[in-house]
């Protein structure tokens, strides 16, 4: 006598469980039918009216068994025949069936596979379809994280999370919904692009934390990346079309958050500066003082090749060295370069003069201001903080404790 088992063949958990039951020992012949692929099987089961997502089906002895009933049939018999002493199925067999159904749902979510829909031939479980499900699911997680840990606006954040979990639910449970999205991508119409870009803008604007927003963009573009991948797979025999893989790679490069592979990185950050003209502003510079108590600002261009303001000092600080140590280095560097400086050039102008490539933080190039500042005449270096009004007048200034210098 044979037993027919109708189960979810795409579910990793179900598939492995059913195949490991070793039912041949009891029933002789076991026919396994996946409810995913064969439309004739789907039609047959649909007519019976069972909810195949909440339980698998067994056809045995001309009777149909569903869910926990089917589970008993399979389970009892495996016990009777005596499993090996230690077997994962023996452990699973002791778990109530409802928990196994829950396990299946979790497995499907993790796999990005939707529920079984007997009315559709294709249950939309291609890698592109999975990417849509993952995308919506992860966007929900991100919005929920933002809501719980970082949000000030509970209403807006709550609405977004609910909206995304609903979309995510639809993507897993409703094949028609997923088909619509898929067709929308395949249409590549102007309507699609406008809609897709609008959706991206809405989500990004609702997630204010920059890191989370960058991760969100990645998940928002994930379906597009996999759409291109599917196009690549379907057209890779066409020599001219297969290079579409590069399109996918470039989109990945632009959207993967935190990508920084020197000298390449995925985009200069966005920021804005708000200036309050009703208040004075502050700035700072390293200043040399000579033995006549004249002062001159030390040009940051002398730190070339890397001349972005503050970065070398940041590295110095990061290594655990003191500010005094950095100031001593600045002076030693100045002393070393003074033979060039006294010729009227800054060090980066040594070869090309005034045609030299400028410093990254654009600098003065007048080296003549250092005429009275030969290293042996310099007595100290300090960092001076200036408070400046909007007429350019220094309202106040304060020195970091000066470092008395030793010429090496």
């Amino acid at each position: 006598m044979a037993i027919d088992i109708y189960f979810d063949g795409d579910c990793y958990f179900c598939d492995n469980f059913v195949k490991k039951l070793e039912l041949e020992r009891v029933y002789g012949k076991v026919n396994l039918y996946s409810l995913r692929d064969d439309i004739s099987v789907k039609n047959k089961i649909q007519r019976l009216g069972f909810n195949v997502n909440n339980g698998f089906l067994v056809h045995y002895n001309k009777n149909w068994y569903w869910g926990d009933e089917a589970y008993k049939i399979v389970n009892l018999n495996t016990h009777k025949k005596g499993f090996k002493n230690f077997n994962i199925n023996k452990i699973i067999s002791k778990i109530p069936y409802k928990f196994l159904v829950l396990g299946r749902y979790i497995t499907l979510v993790v796999q990005g596979i939707g529920l079984i829909d007997l009315t559709h031939k294709d249950n939309e479980n291609s890698i592109f379809a999975k990417s849509i499900r993952f995308s919506l699911l992860f966007l929900f997680f991100i919005s929920f994280f933002q809501l719980v840990f970082l949000s000030n606006n509970i209403k807006e954040g709550g609405f977004l999370s609910l909206f995304l979990i609903y979309l995510s639910y639809l993507s897993y449970s409703n094949v028609r919904f997923l088909k619509k999205i898929k067709n929308y991508f395949y249409s590549q119409s102007i309507k699609f692009w406008l809609g897709y870009i609008s959706f991206i803008l809405i989500i990004l604007n609702a997630i204010p934390t920059i890191s989370l927003s960058r991760i969100s963009l990645f998940f928002l573009t994930l379906p597009l990346i996999f759409y291109f991948y599917e196009r690549y797979k379907s057209e890779k025999n066409n020599r001219n079309s297969k290079i579409g893989i590069f399109l996918m790679c470039i989109l990945l490069f632009c959207t993967i958050p935190g990508l920084h592979i020197a000298p390449f990185f995925s985009g200069i950050s966005g920021w804005y500066v708000q200036v309050d003209k009703s208040k004075n502003f502050t700035t700072a510079a390293y200043v040399l003082t000579n033995n006549n108590y004249e002062k001159v600002v030390l040009n940051h261009a002398l730190l070339e090749p890397g001349t972005q303001l503050g970065r070398l000092e940041g590295a110095w600080h990061n290594s655990g060295r003191s500010k005094e140590d950095f100031m001593q280095f600045l002076f030693d560097n100045y002393s070393r370069l003074y033979p060039i400086i006294k010729t009227g050039k800054l060090s980066h102008q040594r070869v090309l003069g005034s045609l030299a490539y400028p410093a990254h933080s654009f600098s003065d190039t007048d080296a003549s201001i250092y005429k009275n500042f030969a290293p042996e005449n310099i007595i100290s270096i300090t960092e001076t903080y200036y408070e400046v009004d909007w007429d350019g007048v220094i309202a106040s200034q304060k020195d970091y404790p000066p470092l008395n210098l030793k010429v090496k």
Binding site: Q274, N333, A356, S363, W390
Partner: protein, 321 residues
């Protein structure tokens, strides 16, 4: 507007990527890239890094930005050391000033050879140039400066290293002028475009993730220029005098940054419509010049779009699509 009209990016990309191109243009780009690199090399003294204590190296990108603004999975020591060739210092000591000077001189020779003779046997001049240059600039990156108007040129140098085209020494460049269009040259030119497009487009996407649309209009650009000019009077920063003449724009300056952000987002269009490269050149030249107003020199990028000009087509008055 017909909203159902198809704009199939995949197809358009394939068509545009596979268009035919002239080897002459690539040879010109090679020379322009080399000239720029030589300009930069002759304006810098890398022996500076021979004087920096060893323990100061290692201010990686992951150390600079807070977790709320940066995802810490690349920009780490391992990745940065590998890609800048500084992994050699896992085994050997950092070079002193003399050796750094020697490496810089080697780079100058190698880039000069690349400009004059082309890529050389087994593309040795191109690869050697890249390796030496990335090692030199790696010093900058390891000390906390990840931007130096150099990424695009490194990108184009990689294209020269890896893509196929008919390479000609400088004295035989005339013969490539007469050569016919071909698919290999076309694809190489496409990669030059993609390097620029990816750089600016990624920056455009960061403006979408890092700023809300309201914040796009919050950048007090002109006031920041004014502040930088006043700062420049006291410190060693510099702002060209010409910026005094734009201060009248005042609050209207709020609309300038969004224009740049939009251009970043729409920059992929130039890949599909290459005849428009001149407009992008003009726009980005103006934009990068504007950054001088806030004390940042992106000199290298002012002219970078010029590397993509259709020199061969223009000289023969051929129409570019």
């Amino acid at each position: 507007m017909n909203f159902t009209k198809k704009f199939d990016v995949y197809d358009e990309f394939s068509k545009s990527y596979n268009r035919l191109g002239f080897d002459f243009n690539i040879n010109v780009t090679r020379i322009l890239v080399c000239v720029f690199l030589l300009w930069k090399l002759l304006s810098r003294n890398f022996d500076f890094y021979g004087y920096i204590p060893d323990d100061v190296f290692g201010h990686y990108t992951v150390d600079m930005y807070p977790i709320t603004t940066y995802i810490r999975w690349t920009g780490t020591q391992l990745v940065t050391d590998i890609f800048t060739m500084h992994w050699v210092h896992w085994f050997i000591e950092r070079p002193g000033p003399e050796l750094m000077k020697f490496i810089q001189n080697m780079s100058i020779v190698s880039v000069s050879l690349l400009a004059i003779f082309g890529r050389g046997p087994k593309r040795i001049f191109a690869f050697l140039s890249y390796l030496l240059l990335i090692y030199l600039w790696g010093n900058i990156f390891l000390l906390g400066q990840e931007v130096d108007s150099i990424s695009l040129y490194f990108g184009m140098l990689l294209v020269i290293c890896f893509c196929n085209y008919e390479d000609k020494p400088i004295w035989r460049i005339g013969s490539s002028f007469l050569a016919k269009k071909n698919i290999d040259a076309g694809r190489t030119i496409s990669w030059f475009y993609l390097i620029l497009v990816a750089y600016y487009f990624a920056s455009g996407l960061r403006k979408l993730t890092d700023l809300s649309l309201v914040e796009w209009f919050k950048y007090d650009l002109i006031w920041e220029v004014e502040q930088t000019m006043l700062t420049a009077n006291i410190t060693s920063l510099n702002v060209p005098n010409v910026f005094e003449h734009i201060l009248f724009i005042d609050k209207w300056g709020l609309f300038l940054p969004p224009l740049v952000y939009l251009s970043h987002i729409f920059v992929p269009l130039v890949f599909f419509k290459r005849s428009k490269v001149v407009y992008f050149f003009l726009f980005y030249a103006a934009f990068h010049f504007m950054t001088f107003g806030v004390g940042i020199s992106f000199t290298g990028y002012i002219v970078v779009w010029g590397c993509l000009f259709h020199y061969r087509e223009w000289l023969t008055r051929e129409v570019v699509k």
